[in-house]
């Protein structure tokens, strides 16, 4: 997808804004990201109300949701799945493993999905909650704005609090 950012966003929204078919791909994860992805179809989060659907067939898919650190044994299958998807297509890397964390590159793992597939959207988390996944999918189709660009992750402007406090 090599057009300018605005054209890209407009194209994505025009193509995928209303209905998107998602194909999940597990490249060697611990399957917790898959559990969170599966929860998306549950009544509490219900991604069908947003027009997203899961499909097992890459030929019907618009978006490839990749988890796992891309082990080398899976490389052929990942490329074949990506190639089988008709364009335009979006690849989303999900979870810390896919983004390069947890597992470094070694003889058995690439360590990051980027090594094999061209990733368009990254969703950090371990695992990313279904809400974070919904935000990521919204960013992928151009319906939601990215927020992390403007977050400094510094604490000056935040009140003192620890994790889990209400």
């Amino acid at each position: 997808m090599s057009t300018s950012a605005d054209d890209l966003r407009a194209a994505i929204e025009r193509q995928f804004g209303r209905s998107l078919h998602i194909r999940t791909l597990d490249t060697g994860s611990c399957a917790v990201c898959e559990q969170e992805i599966r929860l998306l179809a549950a009544p509490h989060y219900d991604l069908h109300r947003l027009g997203f659907f899961f499909t097992p067939a890459p030929r019907h898919a618009d978006l490839l949701l990749v988890t796992g650190p891309m082990i080398r044994a899976f490389e052929v299958a990942a490329r074949k799945t990506y190639d089988a998807m008709p364009g335009p297509k979006v690849v989303v890397g999900v979870g810390a493993c896919a983004l390069g964390g947890v597992y470094p590159a070694d003889p058995f793992t690439h360590g990051t999905v980027d090594a094999v597939l061209p990733v368009d959207v990254w969703i950090p988390g371990c695992p990313p909650s279904p809400l974070a996944l919904l935000h990521g999918l919204g960013v992928a189709v151009g319906r939601l704005a990215e927020k992390v660009r403007d977050l400094p992750f510094t604490a000056e402007d935040q009140p003192e609090r620890t994790r889990g406090d209400s």
Binding site: H44, Y45, A96, P104, D120, P124, E156
Partner: protein
């Protein structure tokens, strides 16, 4: 069956309204850390980098480099230097550009 139906109707709709409306339960989510630059000197930064099992924290010349993408929100950095680390409460972290997930937090200028 009827009881379940009635109870369910009384409870109301449980489906989240996100993204149209903010989600209340999001405040319980585990989130990546945020850092206090005033508490960060080189030694603290090195200890934090050592403590992170995922390789999200490294130190270069004058900044703590925090890769949000690699963070697993395990909390070891907070346990290591609790004065310097708090929870960021940020969970909408999707990014189209990988470089926007790499944050540079400036270290305190003076040595400890």
């Amino acid at each position: 069956m009827t009881l379940w139906f009635v109870r369910g109707i009384r409870r109301g709709i449980v489906t989240t309204r996100y993204p149209a409306r903010p989600e209340e339960s999001a405040r319980f989510l585990p989130t990546p850390p945020a850092f206090r630059p005033r508490e960060l000197n080189r030694e603290t930064a090195d200890r934090l980098a050592q403590a992170c099992p995922s390789g999200a924290l490294t130190r270069d010349e004058d900044a703590l480099v925090f890769d949000v993408g690699r963070c697993t929100a395990c909390g070891r950095c907070a346990a290591e230097a609790s004065h310097a680390v708090i929870s960021s409460a940020a969970w909408e972290l999707a990014a189209t550009d990988r470089s926007t997930l790499i944050k540079r937090i400036p270290l305190r200028a003076a040595a400890p």
